[in-house]
């Protein structure tokens, strides 16, 4: 069991992680979806806010911990 836990801890950062792909952004462990438009998405994380700007932005998958955003991403900023 410890092995699995250790592996899980190694692979999954329990605080957060953000993956940026060509047309996708995957955010793990966000707290709140603040703004959602096709040009701007604002997410609130534990210690900062995440601002994503682009065009044709849309949510592809969403649950209470993680979100997958699809679209043309032009800018990603942290807001503290």
């Amino acid at each position: 069991m410890h092995m699995i836990k250790n592996l899980q801890n190694f692979l999954l950062d329990q605080d957060y992680y953000i993956d940026i792909f060509n047309n996708y952004i995957h955010v793990y462990c966000y707290q709140e979806l603040v703004t959602l438009t096709d040009k701007l998405i604002e997410l609130k994380l534990n210690e900062f806010g995440l601002v994503i700007e682009g065009s044709n932005l849309s949510v592809s998958n969403m649950d209470n911990k993680e979100i997958l955003i699809k679209g043309v991403v032009n800018d990603v900023r942290f807001v503290r």
Binding site: L33, S58, S60, D63, N64
Partner: protein, 395 residues
């Protein structure tokens, strides 16, 4: 296992809806936007939350996902699946059932004998087929049981029919037991042709012979002494004369095809013939084309040609020609081969009550020799007597 469903919500403001779903902690996946609808996958347990908190939105379940979809499909198509399974089972059973046991041999006694044995070993109509080894075992058992009657036996399974091919054992008999025979004339005539296979020809071409005369003798003689007796064989052709009378009605019914043709299906078995569809032509001539054999029934495609019947009358010349051809047919029935007509003449013709009566003289060439056995004892006595006479004369 998590139960996901595919659903959709109609909305003008997608962002608001997504924010609301996010706030009530509803997990959604595979989100797709189409016109005024948002399609997504959602846990079935979250549907209650949507209905409770998002009253102004109408949520519709489109489809089940995962194993539940399979369950749903099975439930919806239960009748079809059961039918297919049932059909497969029926097909499997039918393809392993014997509908007909066909014993192929001319001898009725042998057929019945084998049929009894097959019943004993369980090869009967409406029973299950057996394996190749089982059939081999049955073959060897039957052959051992009837060593003196069966030369060869084969069981051939053709679909639902079991064909038993059998060869009867014929014990070779001594040729001597067959006896001795002459070829004698079965009718009077003038010999035209002789083919001697065995024996001594006693007549020649252009000889006149009467019924019962010996044509080819079984006695092989040398210097008037019988040296050997055989069963004479050969073919003797002679010119034979017949006086044939025949009658022909002058009125007859002529059937003519109208050109109208209809298809039908005909099935045939040992009990008779049955037409599947109702016949749509009143008077018809049919032609059958074999299609397939199914469950012991032979299925034919039947072409029904519509015909019109009309009453006709022969002219005197037509009637005479027809009557002459009838005479030829009569002679052909009498002969195994088509007779060779040498000459013919109408002796008398008369019309009585719309019937033409004719009497004809016909000379034909036909085979007149028939095998007639004789006993050697009588002849050998005679030959002995002759020998004695000869001996006496010598002494």
């Amino acid at each position: 296992m998590k139960h996901y469903v595919r659903g959709r919500i109609k909305t003008n403001s997608r962002t608001n809806l997504l924010l609301k779903l996010n706030r009530i902690n509803v997990d959604i996946r595979n989100i797709k936007y189409e016109k005024d609808y948002i399609y997504f996958d959602i846990l079935s347990s979250d549907i209650k939350k949507i209905k409770k908190y998002l009253i102004s939105y109408k949520f519709e379940v489109i489809d089940e996902l995962g194993i539940y979809k399979l369950k749903k499909e099975l439930r919806v198509n239960m009748l079809f699946i059961v039918s297919v399974v049932f059909a497969c089972v029926v097909f499997l059973i039918l393809s392993n059932i014997i509908v007909k046991v066909n014993i192929i041999h001319q001898n009725k006694d042998l057929r019945e004998l084998i049929n009894e044995d097959l019943k004993e070993y369980g090869v009967t109509p409406m029973s299950f087929k057996k394996s190749y080894d089982a059939y081999e075992e049955i073959i060897s058992k039957i052959k051992n049981k009837h060593k003196d009657r069966i030369e060869w036996l084969e069981i051939d399974v053709d679909g639902m029919v079991v064909n038993i091919r059998v060869e009867e054992r014929i014990l070779n008999e001594e040729k001597e037991e067959k006896g001795y025979c002459h070829v004698v004339a079965n009718t009077s005539g003038i010999i035209t042709h002789i083919l001697t296979a065995k024996g001594v020809a006693l007549v020649g071409v252009n000889d006149f012979v009467k019924k019962g005369d010996i044509l080819i003798s079984g006695e092989v003689k040398l210097n008037e002494e019988v040296k050997n007796d055989v069963c004479a064989s050969g073919r003797v052709y002679a010119e034979v004369w017949y006086n044939v009378k025949t009658s022909l009605p002058l009125n007859y019914t002529l059937k003519e095809k109208t050109g109208k043709m209809r298809y039908n299906i005909m099935v045939k078995n040992d009990m008779g013939e049955y037409v599947i569809l109702k016949s749509r032509v009143k008077d018809k001539e049919v032609k059958n084309k074999y299609l397939v054999k199914l469950f012991g029934y032979q299925v034919y495609l039947q072409k029904e040609y519509e015909v019109i019947q009309s009453n006709k009358r022969y002219t005197e010349e037509e009637a005479l020609n027809k009557a002459i051809s009838l005479v030829h047919e009569k002679l052909a029935v009498k002969e195994t081969q088509t007779p060779k007509i040498i000459k013919e003449k109408v002796l008398q013709k008369s019309v009585n009550n719309d019937t033409l009566d004719i009497e004809m003289f016909v000379a034909v060439e036909e085979q007149i020799g028939v095998v007639e056995p004789y006993t050697k004892e009588m002849d050998s006595d005679t030959s002995d007597r002759t020998d004695n006479d000869n001996n006496n004369s010598v002494s």
